[in-house]
């Protein structure tokens, strides 16, 4: 099991939520104090640095027009970490390629970071959550197809080394010829997030790592099972390498249960503060009309992340969106989840969220690195994904 420390880099010092309609898309930037924001950027970069020093890997992500995430340009953060960290592998999860206007630019950005980090980059692609379509003015109809087209274009751009090729589809280029070439050959490992069972098979067929985020016990198992089945059908073998499955969850380790739960309440801001009008979460075309109609019925399942609002740490642990407690307890919780879902190889550790302080986050990271990481190291495969050997 590899651990990837990340923070969404929130800006949590907001007025009472009654004062605004939505924390995403329309929240005026007058709520943002540049002095406080600069302090937060510095803290978040320091925490990633500390994770590297402690032997953990790091993960970064991107959202737009929101106080939940101060990273609207993830290659900038990853580019900084490529230079300042020494050993950590750097996961971008991910590049919202259905929304990016220029996928070749994404290929170029990733190739640069891969070189600057001496081949420590892992490249995630995401379709993007529904709140992202308005900031990007990205047509919600056909987004999944566009994500896969951009994926195909980027992989071809990375792996074509004999001069330009053309691409005439949703995007049009006559001369795709990316410099620099990626450091890892044939290309950095690729990850894709999945939330629905229907999205898993294509990721499995492509052989990419599937990442699930706070989907809890039941939904995660269904997602992994769909991936495993498609993997077996596509690759002719029953066993999926554990490093092709990842789970993202809040993690807090403390010396006492009380301290861990107190921190978990602060981190719950991630669930509690996500105030978004329903319509921003379901732009027409983002989900099939059948899904839109079904989601409005009383029987529609509520995602774990939405259910977690205001819940106790015990509830969040019980439902698999939080691992918190003393080191032994956290190890036990991770193992229980691991056994329930049939195994996975990457723990995407949201080790900071909400208004958790620098020192609170640091204490948890230290305890995690010292006691938890060694205890779960043997879970899953330790093998590296494809493509990690540098060109000589």
């Amino acid at each position: 099991m590899k651990t990837w420390y990340f923070s969404e880099c929130p800006y949590p010092t907001l007025p009472d939520a009654d004062e605004y309609d939505s924390i995403r898309v329309s929240l005026p930037s007058s709520y943002y104090d540049p002095t406080e924001g600069a302090r937060l950027y510095s803290m978040y970069l320091d925490l990633w640095q500390a994770a590297d020093d402690l032997g953990l890997n790091v993960m970064t992500n991107e959202h737009h027009q929101t106080a939940t995430c101060l990273v609207p340009a993830v290659p900038i953060i990853a580019g900084i970490l490529a230079r300042t960290t020494k050993n950590a592998r750097i996961l971008i999860l991910g590049n919202p390629i259905a929304n990016r206007r220029d996928p070749v630019r994404v290929a170029e950005e990733m190739a640069m970071i891969d070189n600057i980090s001496n081949g420590r980059l892992e490249v995630g692609f995401v379709r993007g959550v529904p709140f992202e379509v308005l900031p990007a003015n990205s047509k919600p109809v056909g987004m999944s197809d566009r994500m896969w087209e951009a994926h195909d274009l980027i992989l071809k751009a990375w792996t074509t080394v004999d001069g330009p090729f053309s691409w005439e589809g949703s995007w049009n280029y006559r001369y795709v010829n990316v410099w620099p070439r990626t450091y890892q050959q044939p290309h950095p490992p690729v990850w894709i997030t999945g939330t629905s069972v229907s999205s898993a098979p294509r990721i499995a067929r492509a052989g990419h790592t599937l990442a699930a985020f706070v989907t809890g016990y039941g939904a995660t198992k269904r997602l992994y099972d769909a991936y495993r089945q498609a993997w077996a059908e596509a690759h002719g073998k029953a066993g999926v390498p554990a490093d092709r499955l990842a789970y993202g969850v809040q993690v807090y380790v403390a010396d006492t249960v009380e301290a861990a739960h107190a921190a978990a309440i602060k981190m719950r801001w991630y669930f509690d503060a996500n105030k978004v009008p329903r319509h921003l979460g379901s732009p027409p075309g983002y989900s099939p009309p059948e899904g839109v109609v079904a989601s409005r019925t009383a029987a529609a399942p509520i995602p774990q992340a939405r259910q977690a609002k205001g819940k106790s740490p015990e509830w969040m642990i019980e439902n698999g969106v939080l691992m918190a407690g003393t080191p032994d307890m956290v190890v036990e919780q991770i193992k229980r989840f691991y056994d329930h879902v049939g195994g996975f190889g990457h723990l995407l550790m949201m080790g900071h969220a909400g208004g958790l302080s620098r020192s609170e986050t640091m204490r948890s990271l230290e305890l995690y690195a010292q006691h938890v990481a060694p205890a779960i190291a043997q879970l899953g495969s330790a093998a590296m994904p494809v493509g990690v050997g540098a060109l000589s």
Binding site: N137, K139, G142, H279, P283, P284, G285, V292
Partner: protein, 279 residues
């Protein structure tokens, strides 16, 4: 009068068309429905059917008709319907379109103006006249049903989709909204290449807009009328963005009267200016 519905093969698509044919009436209308779908305009067509035969295609993706992903913009629907008329053997027809359908009608009118003796554009979308940092159209795609209804209807109880409960109709409505997104997401509800060629719309034209339209500012319709060579503007006092849905009888009467006054039938064409001649 005979009413029928048929599937007409055009390109590799099947176009669903409702026909209300009355050989005793002197004119035929091509009616292009709004984004509220063919179901919502049935009362209007019943009224208009008293004075004209009507050809009413369902836009692909509306009223249960399948969408064709290769048809991406209203201009392509205009080309589709030009071929549809050819398939039906209709050489000349009066154009009536509402909102999205009004946009398609304007596109058709710019392509072959001589084919259409008249045009009635009810709250047509499709153009942008104001500055690049001014909204042309309110947000009606990514918004709540309640806000959308308030923006589009002068009287919210006129929204034919308001009290829909059956799963089939809810699915039809959700599909139609998705189809509007498919056709008109970007540029939002307009085609930049359309406004510059409006002088081609040389036939007698009537622009009908609603007094309570909060999707489109009144100045838009005034600007449109000023750019059309031969157009008048009538305000439907008791309507929002869909006068053909909110005031079906009054608007049908208005259209019939306009046809009688401004768009002579073939039998009365002798002596009218050449640019109105349809032969």
């Amino acid at each position: 009068m005979s009413m029928s519905s048929l599937q007409v093969p055009v390109w590799n698509a099947e176009v669903q068309v409702d026909l209300r044919i009355n050989p005793g009436l002197p004119r035929t209308v091509l009616y292009l429905h709004s984004e509220e779908g063919p179901r919502a305009c049935a009362p209007f067509l019943t009224e208009l059917g008293r004075s004209a035969s009507i050809i009413a295609p369902h836009h692909p993706g509306f009223g249960g008709a399948a969408r064709h992903e290769q048809i991406k913009r209203p201009r392509e629907l205009a080309i589709l319907y030009a071929d549809l008329l050819d398939r039906l053997g209709v050489a000349s027809v009066d154009l009536v379109g509402s909102s999205l359908g009004g946009w398609i009608a304007l596109e058709m009118a710019t392509m072959t103006p001589a084919r259409f003796p008249s045009l009635v554009a009810i709250s047509p979308l499709g153009m942008k006249f104001n500055a690049r940092d001014e909204r042309s159209f309110a947000e009606v795609m990514v918004t709540s049903d309640e806000i959308r209804r308030e923006l589009l209807y002068k009287h919210v109880e006129h929204d034919p989709w308001r009290d829909v409960k059956s799963p089939e109709l809810l699915l039809e409505h959700a599909t139609q909204l998705e189809s509007l997104v498919h056709y008109a997401w970007e540029p939002y509800l307009h085609e930049p290449a359309l406004a510059p060629i409006l002088p081609r719309v040389s036939m007698a034209a009537l622009v009908i807009s609603g007094a309570g339209d909060q999707l489109v500012p009144a100045a838009y319709y005034e600007e449109l009328v000023s750019r059309l060579p031969d157009a008048d503007n009538v305000i439907a006092a008791r309507s929002g963005h869909f006068p053909d849905i909110e005031e079906p009888t009054a608007v049908a009467t208005l259209v019939s009267q306009f046809h009688a006054d401004r768009s002579p039938t073939l039998g009365r064409l002798l002596g009218v200016p050449a640019d109105r001649n349809v032969s």
